[in-house]
């Protein structure tokens, strides 16, 4: 059975991540896995500036480095156990039933790729351990979103049970997929849906939005829609504020890295300003 996987780290995001993940697992009726990664690359490296090597240097160096890693990893493993244990308790308090905990050594994005087959929905904090006090986006989010081909819920530091949802629709394949998923997924059962298209209200645009709306209505959702011209990021932000929206669904990083290098990424900008959870679809 596929799991909702929540990425837990030592930042204050862990709380909200656990809560949103528990909520999702309950809606989707899937098991919940709390996941922590021990990234050894982030450990500082010891520098010995003597620059000499003698008889047996290689062997003793290997032993020395292995011992150092062993010590650090033991501490990190124990720390990870505590983090996961605390998160598990919180999830069970919220009523999660089937909760698993897992730890892996290595890079976060790589470790998640290894779990991808078992993944229904990934829940991750919008801000990382180093960036959680600022507006800056967690620096691993983009890599993860680009590598994982499952839906990802990026959540803010404060939990609020979602009661309504907004879909950022642009008529592209990804957003049509979003409509289908929104319509059928048990995650959004009974929630009113607001479909937003940012851009000029041409006949084509109106037609494609209306098609999406009628598709959603087929599945008995309460749907409203609007087409508003303006800058994508600030328009979405404004509408969210006006309508008190609890969750945003959008396609993510549909452009190549090269284009992003010059143009910047809309996804990253929307994410970094978002006060509400964002469900990213690839």
């Amino acid at each position: 059975m596929k799991h909702v996987i929540a990425c837990i780290d030592e930042s204050r995001m862990a709380n909200a991540v656990t809560q949103y993940a528990t909520w999702s697992a309950k809606q989707l009726q899937t098991p919940l896995t709390l996941f922590h990664v021990l990234d050894e690359m982030r450990y500082p490296v010891n520098s010995d500036m003597t620059g000499n090597i003698g008889l047996g240097s290689r062997e003793s160096l290997l032993e020395e480095l292995a011992e150092l890693d062993e010590r650090r990893n033991k501490i990190a493993l124990e720390h990870g156990h505590h983090l996961l244990e605390a998160a598990k308790n919180r999830a069970e308090e919220m009523g999660a039933e089937d909760v698993h905990v897992r730890q892996r050594h290595g890079d976060l994005a790589e470790s998640l790729t290894a779990l991808e087959d078992n993944l229904r929905l990934l829940v991750i904090g919008l801000h990382g351990a180093q960036t959680c006090d600022s507006d800056r986006l967690g620096h691993q989010i983009e890599t993860i979103v680009r590598n994982i081909h499952r839906p990802i819920l990026a959540v803010p530091p404060k939990y609020h049970t979602p009661t309504n949802v907004m879909l950022a629709f642009d008529g592209s394949d990804v957003s049509r997929k979003g409509v289908k998923m929104l319509a059928e997924s048990p995650l959004f059962v009974g929630m009113p849906i607001h479909v937003v298209m940012v851009g000029a209200a041409t006949a084509d645009a109106t037609a494609s939005v209306e098609a999406a709306v009628s598709h959603l209505q087929e599945f008995r959702h309460k749907v409203s829609y609007e087409i508003r011209a303006g800058d994508v990021e600030s328009t979405l932000h404004d509408i969210q504020q006006e309508r008190n929206i609890d969750m945003l669904v959008m396609g993510a990083y549909s452009h190549s890295k090269l284009r992003q290098l010059f143009m910047g990424s809309t996804t990253s900008r929307v994410l970094s300003r978002s006060q509400i959870p964002v469900l990213l679809l690839r």
Partner: protein
């Protein structure tokens, strides 16, 4: 993309920059010493070290490994330089690069799995011995000053780190070079210096195409050398990569390393440098000094260039004795101390492979030959060992005068003699059953041995039934595939 650039280059900024500086100092002696042995000016080796280190920091497959002009490669160039001159060396360097790129695309890096641990150990030890032997010309027919200076240099290298506080701040090889240079100048000691050994670089390296005729004759001259250089270069690099992998608990991309080294060698050849490869000693120094990412290799190369360009007047004054001391340190550090201690515990065959590899390399000065002999010996020993995993048992049914032979295990060239000898042809029985259902026939020699057994029994007048043959001969396949799980069980069971 930014993430991987960040991880590969800037994730360990302080350690990489410092270790790059330390390693650059250890590159100079090797580049100078082996340029002299190859018979070219020190600037050829220094330009090569700069070009290779900088290029491979981008193209290589093993972050944190140091590649530059090396002794193993220089030793292969000696006759080429002597007989045909520098321009042919540059052309051979380009061809070496091309061959290595081809090898990378053909994924020949995977062939490293045939090189056993004992061959690797033998290679490493042989390399250490070669580096040491290369210092001997500097230590023969010289005045006593040189011996004293070399010993003092070694004393500084190994003793300086024990001095409190400053001992661990400054690289001791640097202190060794600096203090010996100062002493030699101050007391006016007349010893050989780097300046006596040939031309040093005074400008940035310039792009130049080797001045050789582009015809088949040139190719015939350089090809054998390029092939040897390409093989030795890849061997040393891939072995060094394994060592760095172990030390840093990370993995490397072998085929990318082959291609990367090819590109680096082409770059070196075009900038007037000789071919090079990874260096075991310097890579260990790099890891020890805290270098982990591509940046450390890049800094080492760049800093080397800065040193040789701005300090060339000072470089000339360095007494050779100081460099000899540093190279002796590299040689000692490269040598695998464990291999001596383990001689007693390891099986004789393993020791023979290791020692044979060392002996062949020291005798021929060609690391590729040593590895070839080592791999060959290791394979023969392996075939011999696996040949033991074959047993024939038999039982006699006295009522019908029928003897059943049951063959189990591996039948191939090495065990076929034993296979034939296991049958008693002189026994007078009416019927012979040979049950092969638990045997594995690996090659034509095995099939041929079975044919001979059947014919011999027939001559004695017995009727021969071979059962289970289909299953047994089905294993005559090129690959030890997934065809039968019991293969491995058989091996373990014996």
């Amino acid at each position: 993309m930014w993430k991987s650039i960040q991880a590969n280059w800037f994730s360990n900024l302080r350690g990489d920059v410092l270790s790059g500086l330390v390693v650059a100092l250890a590159l100079i002696p090797e580049a100078i010493a082996f340029s002299i042995i190859a018979g070219v000016d020190p600037k050829i080796g220094l330009y090569a070290s700069f070009a290779i280190a900088v290029i491979i920091s981008f193209t290589g497959g093993r972050p944190g490994m140091i590649s530059a002009a090396t002794g193993a490669m220089a030793l292969l160039m000696v006759t080429l330089v002597k007989e045909h001159g520098l321009q042919y060396l540059l052309a051979a360097t380009l061809l070496t690069g091309v061959l290595q790129i081809v090898a990378g695309y053909l994924k020949l890096g995977e062939l490293m799995r045939f090189v056993s641990r004992s061959v690797v150990t033998g290679f490493v030890n042989a390399l250490a011995i070669l580096i040491f032997m290369a210092q001997l010309p500097e230590l023969t027919n010289v005045t006593w000053h040189v011996y004293v200076m070399t010993l003092a240099g070694l004393g500084i290298i190994y003793g300086f780190p024990y001095i409190p506080v400053i001992g661990r701040l400054l690289p001791s090889p640097l202190i060794c070079i600096l203090s010996l240079t100062v002493i030699a100048i101050y007391f006016g000691i007349d010893v050989r210096t780097v300046g006596d050994m040939g031309e040093l670089p005074d400008t940035l390296p310039v792009f130049l195409w080797p001045d050789v005729p582009l015809n088949f004759e040139t190719l015939a001259i350089i090809f054998p050398y390029s092939l040897g250089l390409a093989i030795v270069g890849m061997l040393e690099s891939l072995m060094t990569a394994t060592i760095v992998d172990d030390l840093t608990d990370t993995s490397s991309d072998r085929n990318r390393e082959c291609k990367g080294q090819g590109i680096a060698n082409i770059g070196s050849g075009l900038l007037g440098g000789m071919a090079g490869c990874a260096m075991i000693g310097q890579s260990i120094i790099n890891v020890k000094s805290g270098g982990r990412t591509r940046l450390s290799t890049f800094i080492a190369g760049t800093f080397l260039l800065i040193l040789i360009l701005f300090l060339d007047e000072w470089l000339k004054q360095i007494p050779m004795a100081a460099l000899v001391a540093v190279m002796i340190m590299v040689s000692i550090g490269t040598f695998s101390w464990d291999s001596i201690r383990n001689l007693k515990q390891h099986p004789l065959s393993t020791n023979i492979v290791m020692l044979a590899t060392v002996a062949v390399v020291v005798a021929t000065h060609n690391l590729a030959l040593g590895v070839f002999v080592g791999v060959l010996l290791a394979s023969v020993f392996f075939a011999n060992k696996v040949g033991h995993y074959m047993a024939v048992t038999s039982s006699l049914d006295e009522a019908s005068f029928c003897r059943t032979y049951k063959v189990a295990g591996q039948v191939f060239f090495s065990s076929s003699e034993k296979f034939i000898a296991a049958f008693d042809f002189k026994e007078g029985v009416d019927k012979i059953v040979i049950d092969l259902s638990e045997a594995h026939f690996w090659d034509i020699t095995a099939v041929n041995a079975l044919d001979r057994v059947v014919i011999k029994f027939r001559r004695e007048g017995a009727k021969v039934d071979v059962i289970g043959l289909n299953k047994a001969s089905a294993t005559i396949v090129d690959r030890f595939g997934e065809h039968n799980q019991s293969d491995t069980k058989d091996l373990i069971g014996h």
